[in-house]
């Protein structure tokens, strides 16, 4: 019985480990160069002295111990139902593969919300995760004066990180209050209801939307969630053999919620219980504790 797991962020990695331990044949697939999802570009501390980097290392080790082969650089661009189960179209650096499987778990995560105001396409406008990929992974600060569009805990943490990178945060504004972004060849200013400020980078940290293109191809029912501002799928088993787990199911989530969701979903599939995560101490502590984490 082959189970395909699409997405090797924390939810996908954990699902693959649990499935492998329960004796399933697992194919883990991800379009990025390395496994880890947001753990490869976001650094934060976790309760009990753990860190996001420690969590990634724990999941990496867990995968290797279970013998799950890495499936990076693999773009799953199609998903089809067949008589025997499912078929995924996979492109790996130009090489095509049609992967047949009995079950699919989509751990495809989320995409950052965009903004639609005049000037929103100027060089220098980017998503929160883009700013982190540049700042944390590559050590490149995109500019000197940042505007953050978005408010709340995630935006505050991003502002603190931008300061750590050596740049200033000149403006933090709600997405609804932004009128336009000005500049000739790239960002030079942002205009909100409160006035105009000179900035050279505008970071959009205004929420995330689930990536549901592949379950959508399979015909999974989706409903529009007004509060989230995007489409959601119902929880649980879908179309006999499909599940959506982690951030893609919850609509962008705190790491402990995403892991808890994963454990629940995989346990339902394998009939196993939470003992499958016994040797993953950070994962165990996250799923049994609350969702607070600090920088």
């Amino acid at each position: 019985m082959t189970v395909a797991v699409v997405g090797s962020g924390p939810a996908g990695m954990l699902a693959a480990i649990m499935l492998a331990k329960a004796g399933r044949s697992v194919r883990l697939l991800d379009e990025q160069v390395s496994a880890g999802g947001h753990l490869t570009y976001d650094r934060y501390s976790l309760p009990g002295g753990a860190t996001s980097e420690g969590l990634l290392a724990e999941l990496d080790t867990g995968l290797r111990k279970c013998g799950v082969l890495p499936g990076q650089d693999s773009v799953v661009w199609g998903a089809f139902g067949t008589d025997a189960g499912f078929e995924l179209s996979v492109n790996r650096r130009g090489a095509q593969e049609s992967l047949t499987c009995d079950r699919v778990l989509f751990a495809t995560g989320t995409t950052d919300r965009a903004i639609a105001v005049p000037g929103c396409t100027l060089p220098g406008v980017m998503t929160a995760r883009a700013a982190r990929i540049l700042g944390e992974r590559h050590g490149v600060v995109a500019g000197e004066r940042f505007a953050i569009v978005g408010t709340g805990a995630h935006a505050d943490r991003l502002a603190a990180d931008i300061n750590d990178w050596g740049a200033r945060v000149e403006v933090m504004a709600d997405i609804e209050s932004v009128r336009r972004i000005g500049g000739q060849d790239s960002v030079q200013a942002i205009e909100t209801v409160d006035g105009t400020t000179e900035v050279d980078v505008v970071v959009i940290a205004a929420g995330e939307l689930p990536d549901l293109q592949l379950p959508g191809m399979l015909g999974v029912e989706r409903a529009f969630d007004g509060e989230l501002g995007g489409w959601r799928v119902p929880p649980g088993e879908l179309l006999g053999g499909v599940r959506v787990i982690g951030g893609a199911a919850l609509g962008g989530a705190w790491i402990s919620d995403a892991l808890r969701d994963t454990v629940q979903a995989v346990s339902a599939v394998t009939g196993a219980d939470e003992t499958e995560v016994e040797d993953l101490s950070i994962v165990r502590s996250l799923i049994s504790n609350g969702r607070e984490y600090d920088r």
Binding site: E31, Q32, V33, G94, T111, D112, A114, T121, L122, P123, G124, V125, M126, T127, R129, A130, I133, L134, G135, R137, H138, G139, V140, V141, A142, G143, E144, W165, G166, D185, S186
Partner: protein, 126 residues
């Protein structure tokens, strides 16, 4: 706004120069010598780290425009940086439509700003 050709007072010029020097380097950490990669962008020599993508290396060098939109001719410089939005398409080693944000730098690589859809040759390999 100064008229073209106006002379700048000495201290304003130093400030402007200092600003330019700062803006020329957006790296938080020095590239270790063993990690250095050099490639060309529109004829300019760009220094990068082996771990850089073309996009991160260009931004580090102060280059913000990667392409002009086929839709409206406006400058684009990346948005998502995860290979999803299509705002970072460049001609890399002769291949147009290449996403700079997920393409690793390589020594001697030739990168060009892409105008619109770029020029595609029939039968060109990926």
């Amino acid at each position: 706004m100064r008229p073209f050709g106006a002379k700048m007072p000495r201290d304003e010029l130093s400030e402007a120069n200092a600003k330019m020097t700062r803006q020329r380097s957006f790296r938080r950490r020095e590239i270790p010598p063993g990690d250095l990669v050099r490639f060309g962008c529109d004829g300019e020599d760009i220094a990068a780290a082996t771990s850089d993508t073309v996009a991160s290396a260009l931004l580090a060098a102060g280059r913000r425009r990667f392409m002009t939109s086929a839709h409206d001719g406006e400058p684009r410089g990346g948005f998502c940086f995860v290979g999803r939005c299509g705002d970072c398409l460049m001609v890399i080693d002769g291949q147009p439509g290449t996403m700079a944000c997920i393409t690793a730098v390589r020594s001697g690589m030739v990168v060009e700003t892409q105008a619109g859809l770029g020029h595609w040759e029939v039968g060109a390999a990926t």
